[in-house]
């Protein structure tokens, strides 16, 4: 299969993730969409790695996974604490600060 | 290395400001005396500068030059020509009077916070302004000038916004609001002007590579610096805009009546007699000096604006109900004359303009300070609240009248000499402009005399019946100013002698020759 197709897929996934961020309200889902975007990047990296015949992309993908895991740790901590104080994970409820 | 006299003249009031600010809260009187002494010391230094200045010597004298910010091409370069010397002397002369006149203006009304020290602040700020004004007169480096041109806004701003007339017809609350409005307006106008100038200063650096007046002039003279016509014009406009705000020139003038109206009289004098002079001074030194061609290009428009200022300012002065605003509009009219003289580009016009700066400083100081004494007695700035003061306080009225007569340029008093020179100088090149400007002298008579009539003559109003005449301190402030007005009106030669060579230089900067008379009259 033409490696470019993987890139299209990656772009598609990235867009889906971004759209999710824009339209979903639940912070957890939002965060998952971000993860989806990161994985779309991973896909692109791996595809490029394959195209260029070097391993850089694939190694980066591993790093990204680690980073994503770290993000989960931090992110969930924050989101959960928010949820516990407000009993809601909707990001739209978290709008005390404006203007 | 010789003693850095120019630096000392600026540094002394700066140090004085710090020292005054540091005087403990309870020792108010000590702070006042300290400030007064420092200002007198500065005056002594300024007089030394005056004495050491040799009218027949180099263009810039007593020069000091040190590297400062090499990255910006900025040097700490000081030097004075005749115009600067005259204005430094004026500044140093007026400050002691301003301090003395404002002796009680900043006494705290009630015992506020124990660390609240308005008195110390007031006098420290005045000295700070003095320091900055003096150094901007001395700077021969554009950047150095610019820095202090801008920085002096800050102490001025606090002086305007922080200290106002004690009583106000609408109560202290309104007074505070109007005061801070005036202060903000002052600052924003001038800051906007200054920032536009900043763009031009940067542009100048890009074009010239350094900021030294002398070097740039030299480079332009020997052709190594070639400014494109359009560049020069844009840069000129950038500089001129800032100076026109400061001066102020119509239609950028509206901050002045507010500022002068709301500030205490001594501060109003500081604004119009001292700080604003930096604007007109800078037009002479920087606009004409750096951008002669563009100056000539812009002259017609500037003359028109100056004319409008003269007539418009005078007419508005006639229409004012507030004494201090009236003086402010009168000043706008006078600044029109100064700018007219500068851009007429004749020796008489420019000498007249320089002389005008000095004389206007003294005459406005006299008028405004007496007005301040008057206002402090009655607690109102409205002309309508006075009447018949002449009867109860003849000396006050008399000095007020002399200040007023100086403002309307009565021959025999100093402003006449300068105003006439400006008119003659303008007329020589632009007869129509000269004639229209002459209408200003009628209007000046109108607003001064109307003011005098309404406040000083007529039946004595009950509110002013108990008004005391001038006190000794106040007399000490006013009498020397009046003496100077008369002296410089009859014998202005000491000033013109200092100014003339500098004007000659400026004329050669712009490569203009005086129009020659049609008939070479037999001498």
């Amino acid at each position: 299969m033409n490696p470019v197709n993987y890139l299209y897929l990656a772009a598609l996934l990235f867009t889906i993730g971004a759209t999710g961020v824009l339209i979903r309200r639940n912070a957890i889902v939002l965060f998952m969409c971000v993860e989806l975007m990161l994985n779309a990047c991973n896909l692109a990296l791996v595809a490029f790695s394959r195209m260029h015949g070097n391993l850089d992309g694939q190694i980066i993908a591993f790093f990204v996974m680690v980073v994503a895991a770290a993000e989960v740790v931090v992110g969930l901590a924050i989101i959960v604490s928010l949820f516990r104080s407000r009993h809601s994970a909707s990001v739209d409820d978290a709008s005390l600060m404006k203007l | 290395m010789s003693f850095p006299l120019l630096t000392a003249t600026a540094v002394l009031p700066a140090l004085g400001a710090i020292a005054t600010a540091a005087v403990p809260a309870a020792r108010r009187t000590a702070a006042k005396w300290l400030a007064l002494l420092v200002s007198l010391g500065t005056l002594a230094l300024a007089v030394t500068v005056l004495v050491r200045y040799d009218p027949d010597g180099d263009r810039y004298q007593l020069t000091e030059s040190h590297s400062w910010i090499a990255d910006f091409g900025v040097r700490y370069e000081l030097g004075v020509d005749g115009i600067a010397v005259a204005l430094i002397a004026l500044t140093a002369l007026l400050i002691p009077f301003i301090i003395l006149a404002g002796w009680h203006d900043a006494d705290p009304l009630e015992t506020g916070h124990k660390r609240w020290r308005p008195t110390q602040g007031f006098f420290a700020l005045i000295l700070a302004v003095e320091a900055m004004v003096i150094i901007s007169f001395e700077a021969t480096d554009v950047f150095l000038f610019y820095i202090f041109f801008e920085a002096m806004l800050i102490p001025m701003y606090f002086l305007i916004g922080g200290f106002g007339d004690r009583a106000h017809e609408h109560g202290e609350e309104t007074a505070a609001t109007q005061r801070s409005y005036a202060a903000v307006k002052f600052l924003l106008y001038n800051l906007a002007g200054g920032l536009i100038m900043l763009a031009a200063v940067i542009g100048l650096y890009v074009v010239a590579g350094n900021f030294s007046l002398t070097e740039i002039a030299e480079a332009r003279a020997n052709g190594s610096l070639d400014m494109a016509t359009n560049t020069e014009r844009w840069l000129f406009l950038g500089f001129f805009f800032a100076f026109a705000v400061k001066a102020p020139l119509w239609p950028l003038h509206t901050w002045l009546p507010n500022a002068m109206g709301e500030a205490t009289a001594p501060v109003a004098v500081l604004i119009t007699a001292v700080v604003d002079k930096v604007g007109t001074f800078a037009m002479l030194r920087f606009c004409l000096g750096l951008f002669p061609e563009a100056s000539k290009w812009a002259t017609p428009a500037i003359l028109v604006l100056a004319l409008i200022s003269i007539i418009y300012g005078a007419l508005l002065a006639v229409g004012q109900r507030d004494i201090k605003r009236l003086v402010a509009y009168a000043s706008i009219s006078h600044f029109g004359f100064i700018i007219l003289g500068i851009f007429a580009m004749t020796s008489q016009g420019q000498s007249g303009a320089t002389l005008y700066m000095v004389n206007h400083g003294i005459s406005t100081a006299a008028l405004m300070l007496v007005a301040g004494f008057l206002i402090s007695r009655r607690g109102s700035r409205l002309i309508a609240d006075y009447g018949g003061v002449q009867k109860v306080a003849p000396v006050l009225a008399g000095t007020f009248l002399i200040g007023g007569l100086a403002t309307l340029s009565l021959p025999g008093l100093a402003p006449f000499v300068s105003e006439f020179l400006v008119l003659v100088g303008t007329f020589a090149r632009y007869p129509a402009v000269g004639i229209i400007a002459t209408f200003g002298i009628v209007l000046a008579a109108l607003y001064v005399l109307v003011l005098y009539q309404r406040t000083m003559t007529g039946p004595v109003k009950p509110e002013v019946a108990k008004m005391p005449d001038l006190r000794i301190r106040e007399l000490v402030v006013v009498a020397p100013l009046i003496a100077l007005l008369i002296l410089l009106g009859v014998y202005p030669k000491p000033v013109t002698d200092i100014v003339n060579p500098a004007v000659k230089q400026t004329m050669s900067d712009v490569q203009k020759k005086d129009p020659q008379p049609e008939v070479e009259a037999a001498k």
């Binding site: 490029f48 980073v67 005390l96 | 924003l188 650096y205």
Partner: protein, 549 residues
């Protein structure tokens, strides 16, 4: 060891394995970062092993010493010529040790040190149950207003973890502007961001707002990271490498041994341009440029003020450093493409920041918009695309970070019953109550406004000068117009402090410990010194203005 000769660590692995070379790490040159990260790890251990009562002192001591040592290391490296003649690439091409990197690292470390001081301040909040408390939540995990929180407060708990978090963030920031390949850049970005997200959530008072700020920052930050990463992926796809030097060569077309795949992707400008745009967007998010600025006001407002101060100063420094390196090292060949776009961003940022700030009513939000406007001014220097541009940006960043930390430190002092009194109306008449504090804050505001004789003016002049020399005269004009607009709201605060009558129920000014006092004093001193005699620092910045490739 030239950059191109060193093939990156990763590609070697693809070859048949005969022996594994130990990676060559220049520990000396990396020592600032290593010290800080080591201290951070040590800080974690302290949390684990040191008794609760002593943790605070241990952490403060450790952090301060580590930062000071790291700063000393930076100075040592700079003195040793690593900023100029010996500048080079370290850690197998991952990290650049050169002038801009060292300059910015030094700035970040000093800002971090002042940050530690403000973090450690325990005199401002009233003593709770016999315990001195700082700005951070007693126990972050407890729900605001819950019994467990009250118990934690009563027990005198404090979140001493903030110090290791701070050190981690600083560690990331140190790497960020020095990163010499895109992967390092990304890792550094995350290392600096994640602790900050957490720190934002840790306010002692107004915890809901604080958590909200953290969530917003986190979600948007992660969102931006994803864009950055996708940009990185595309650039990698374009150049077949993440090394700055290699990408630059590919962009310039000077690359040797072009493989067929590379030849293929090299021709695809879309990869390059879209990748560049997305990468730059991620960096612009960090610097708070319009339209990626919208997190700034909320986060600045919600985060604990010491964190805001530190973040506003140090993050901006690090992010601009990274942006400069990307634009100047990776993409100079693309100058004609990114400059117009950055022009637009700079203009919009300057204007929007200044205009929106006018109507703000909260001092922290006001400063946030101010920081947006300043990002615009700095971008004007970035656009210059010249060594002068680099050094002017470096200088501006140095000047700006101290003003910012100082200003936010002053904000922590003005308090009422609900903690910090950040609503502007409460600042009315502050000049009457506490002339000194108000005067100090006025100095900072004037520096923000760019009034001469303050560092703000020197910095502004430097970037505008560089921009004008780089032919961006229009930017300068718009810059001064924005400055004029911006001046309005700085002045509004001064008016409020000095010319308004104090309110009877107004806030009090807490007397800080020497820690905050030091931070403020250093801020004032730097502001004035850089304003009056900037030459030494300008020299420093201009010597440090050359990137190594």
């Amino acid at each position: 060891m030239s950059a191109s000769a060193v093939h990156s660590l990763w590609t070697m692995a693809a070859d048949p394995i005969e022996k594994i070379d130990a990676p060559k790490i220049e520990y000396g040159q990396l020592s600032p970062t290593l010290i800080v990260i080591g201290a951070a790890i040590l800080g974690i251990l302290i949390e684990a092993f040191v008794p609760r009562r002593s943790r605070y002192y241990a952490q403060v001591f450790l952090s301060a010493v580590a930062l000071a040592a790291a700063f000393a290391a930076v100075v040592g490296l700079a003195a040793g010529g690593y900023a100029t003649t010996k500048a080079g690439i370290a850690a197998m091409g991952a990290i650049a040790v050169d002038g801009p990197a060292l300059f910015l690292q030094g700035t970040i470390l000093l800002a971090g040190l002042l940050g530690v001081f403000t973090f450690a301040e325990r005199r401002l909040d009233p003593v709770a149950h016999g315990n001195r408390v700082d700005s951070f939540a007693a126990q972050a995990a407890s729900v605001p207003g819950s019994d467990s929180e009250k118990a934690a407060v009563k027990a005198g708990f404090t979140t001493t973890e903030v110090f290791p978090l701070l050190l981690f963030a600083i560690g990331g920031m140190l790497i960020f502007p020095a990163a010499n390949d895109l992967l390092t850049l990304f890792i550094a970005l995350e290392v600096l961001s994640l602790p900050l997200y957490l720190l934002c959530a840790l306010a002692r008072r107004k915890r809901l707002v604080s958590q909200e700020a953290a969530v917003k920052y986190f979600l948007l930050g992660a969102f931006a990271s994803a864009f950055t990463l996708f940009g990185i992926a595309l650039l990698y796809g374009y150049a077949g490498s993440v090394s700055y030097a290699t990408i630059a060569q590919v962009v310039d077309g000077t690359v040797q041994n072009v493989t067929p795949a590379l030849a293929d992707t090299m021709g695809n400008d879309a990869l390059l341009l879209v990748g560049t745009a997305m990468l730059v967007m991620g960096l612009l998010f960090k610097v708070g440029a319009v339209p990626f600025h919208m997190w700034t006001p909320d986060v600045y407002q919600g985060a604990p003020t010491p964190v805001t101060g530190f973040m506003a100063a140090a993050t901006k420094v690090a992010a601009f450093g990274a942006l400069l390196r990307v634009l100047y090292v990776v993409l100079p060949g693309l100058r004609w493409d990114w400059r117009p776009v950055m022009w637009a961003v700079a203009i919009v940022t300057m204007l929007a920041g200044a205009i929106v700030a006018i109507t703000q009513t909260d001092i922290k939000r006001l400063l946030a918009y101010s920081s947006i406007a300043h990002a615009g001014f700095i971008l004007a220097g970035v656009i210059a695309a010249s060594p002068e541009g680099v050094s002017s940006v470096l200088f501006y960043l140095g000047a700006y970070s101290f003003v910012t930390i100082g200003a936010f430190a002053v904000v922590t002092l003005v308090r009422d019953a609900g903690g910090e009194a950040t609503h502007l109306s409460k600042w009315a008449g502050l000049g009457r109550r506490s002339p000194l504090v108000a005067a100090v804050f006025a100095v900072f505001l004037l520096a923000f406004a760019g009034i001469p004789l303050t560092s703000g003016f020197a910095g502004k002049f430097a970037v505008f000068k560089a921009a004008a020399e780089g032919g961006a005269g229009a930017i300068v004009v718009i810059g001064v117009i924005s400055s004029a607009i911006a001046a309005f709201f700085y002045i509004r605060v001064i008016v409020l402090m000095f010319f308004s009558e104090p309110r009877p129920e107004g806030p009090t000014v807490a007397v800080p410990s020497p820690l905050t006092t030091t931070a403020i004093a250093v801020g004032v001193a730097v502001t004035v010194v850089l304003g009056v005699a900037p030459q030494y620092f300008l020299d420093l910045a201009s010597q440090a203005g050359v990137f190594v490739r």
